[in-house]
């Protein structure tokens, strides 16, 4: 998961840590029983399982110690609530609503930001005019648009989509610009000496060369949007995951609040996993270049 932060340029991205889980493990060789036991103890899935077991045990201990089902429900209660929400379909209903909004917002942001990014990167004049405006708007976080957005769109589904599209726009744009600008000039020159047409240079060199950076921008855009939707729905929407946590908080039904919070984390995690797989599929050559992760 690219962490939950606002826009970052690709230059900063190169400073961002490689996700440890993105690193592939080498294949295993045959080994002795003693080694096998040790390997088992260190196996990734086992470490993860053990970590969660310890975490849940700690949670249980704390909830027993706090002994206030409203402030700290036990894992069992939360699990029950989770099953209840899942079997009634309410859970999936909210997931569906939120992800639908997310999808719309990402499509809107991508269709505007990526072509604009190409345009700005390839046209220096346009860049000189547009870039300052972008830099002026960028520091205003999506959250700060919520009150004004509430006035314009009212309470409903449009506000979260607007906020998310706004939040997703900047990382997509900046990473596209950086990706296109970062194209190795020698590649373009080489293509020109081979008599490759201008159009083919764009589709076969500029687009693939910029794609890794665009994909990174897309993952950041997703992470930022996913963080923003919770705020937007919590404040200004009658539905969705962000709404649900606050709704059940007001009803003091803590197990459901916890269940929804865990759902928010799980959906965010799974989406990023999917995006990472997509990234590997679309830009397999970007692995190990530092910007692929």
């Amino acid at each position: 998961m690219v962490s939950l932060m606002e826009t970052r340029s690709a230059k900063e991205l190169s400073e961002i840590p490689v996700d440890p889980s993105a690193v592939r493990r080498p294949a295993r060789a045959t080994m002795s029983p003693g080694q096998l036991a040790g390997r088992f103890w260190r196996a990734r899935w086992f470490v993860v399982l053990r970590a969660f077991a310890v975490f849940i045990a700690l949670w249980w201990g704390v909830s027993a110690w706090v002994s206030s089902p409203i402030q700290m429900p036990t894992p069992a209660k939360v699990f029950d609530a989770f099953l209840g929400l899942a079997s009634s379909g309410e859970l999936f209903q909210h997931i569906w609503i939120s992800t639908q909004r997310l999808l719309v917002a990402l499509v809107v942001a991508t269709t505007i930001a990526v072509p604009l990014g190409f345009f700005m990167a390839l046209n220096r004049e346009a860049n000189a005019f547009i870039d300052p405006l972008v830099e002026l708007l960028r520091p205003i976080s999506g959250i700060a648009w919520i009150p004004l957005g509430l006035f314009i769109f009212g309470v409903g589904g449009t506000l979260p989509v607007f906020i998310m599209a706004y939040v997703a726009f900047f990382p997509l744009l900046l990473n596209t610009v950086d990706g296109v600008k970062g194209i190795d000039r020698k590649l373009l020159a080489a293509a020109e000496t081979m008599g490759v047409s201008r159009r083919a240079r764009l589709t076969h060199i500029a687009v693939p060369a910029a794609l890794p950076s665009v994909m990174v921008g897309f993952r950041i855009a997703f992470a930022s949007a996913w963080a923003a939707i919770i705020a937007a729905e919590l404040i200004g929407s009658p539905s969705g995951l962000g709404f649900a946590i606050e709704w059940y908080r007001q009803l003091l039904m803590s197990p459901k609040v916890f269940a929804f919070i865990m759902t928010i984390g799980a959906v965010g995690y799974l989406c990023d996993l999917g995006l990472r797989a997509l990234q590997r599929k679309l830009t397999p050559w970007a692995e190990g270049t530092g910007i692929g992760q």
Binding site: P26, R28, A29, M31
Partner: protein, 278 residues
């Protein structure tokens, strides 16, 4: 010629006896035999070069002498004492110099004096004088306050050398210290290195040097003896005496003896070198 033991009654500075190193990858359990049954005596005050194809285990041997890695089998003894861990009496100059990027040239040179055992018993003034001395020796007074990233490759190499010498080690372990430089700078620094080592001085005043290189002509130019290694696993395949008199100048490169020795060593490595790229 393969006799690696002492011809004289002189005691060795370093004695490597049947040293073997096997790496075991933690996750996969895969084993690599990097060095096998490596025996060698290094005489006090000699300039010893180690050449061999890339990946033959040169760095591994050096790291074991430094005490950074432990041999799987065999022993390394310095002045009669078993080497078990790193110590300032065995200074290392790494291939990529390992300069501290957040320290200026002066502070890099004085790093060991400030934080490590080489500074024990020295007053701050003495330390500063010592740093000054070595900065001056490598000709970096003008760049003394610069940071490593502001220096050229050749200048970084000099900082690393000054740092190595400032710590006052008895044995200098150098892992392809000139490897990253262009050919001209390399040749200039080879001459300078010999000057600083004290080529003109009495044998007893010189430091013992173990110098790794993949440049055969570099080894012949610098060394008293050249150890030729073969790979898979790394072993000593020959030890060659370089009987070119010191002090050496640029002129010896064009002498017939220089060419003979270079050819001789090349003929020992050639087959493996061709195999490696085939």
């Amino acid at each position: 010629m393969t006799v690696a033991t002492m011809p004289t009654s002189q005691k060795p500075k370093l004695r490597l006896q049947n040293v073997t190193k096997e790496f075991v990858a933690k996750r996969t359990g895969q084993k690599t035999l990097a060095v096998s049954d490596f025996s060698l005596d290094v005489r006090p005050g000699e300039f010893l070069c180690v050449v061999g194809p890339s990946g033959c285990g040169k760095s591994t041997v050096l790291n074991m002498i430094a005490g950074l890695d432990q041999p799987t089998e065999g022993s390394i003894v310095m002045d009669g004492q078993l080497v078990t861990r790193p110590g300032a009496e065995r200074g290392v100059m790494f291939q990529d110099y390992a300069l501290f990027p957040w320290k200026s040239v002066r502070d890099n040179v004085g790093f060991g004096l400030k934080h490590g055992t080489p500074g024990n018993g020295l007053s701050p003034v003495e330390r500063r004088e010592r740093v000054d001395h070595f900065v001056k020796m490598v000709g970096l007074e003008a760049a003394a306050t610069k940071y490593p990233h502001q220096l050229s490759g050749g200048m970084r190499q000099r900082v690393a050398l000054a740092r190595l010498l400032a710590n006052g080690p008895e044995v200098l372990l150098m892992d392809e210290p000139l490897g990253a430089l262009d050919a001209q700078t390399r040749m200039v620094l080879q001459v300078e290195l010999l000057r600083i080592w004290g080529e003109a001085a009495d044998h007893g005043e010189r430091k013992t040097v173990v110098f790794i290189t993949h440049g055969i002509d570099e080894a012949v130019f610098l060394a008293d003896r050249v150890v030729v290694m073969s790979s898979h696993p790394g072993r000593v395949s020959a030890v060659i005496d370089i009987d070119i008199p010191r002090p050496r100048t640029e002129h010896i490169r064009s002498e017939p003896r220089f060419g003979q020795l270079t050819d001789e060593i090349w003929s020992l490595i050639r087959d493996e070198a061709y195999q490696a790229i085939a």
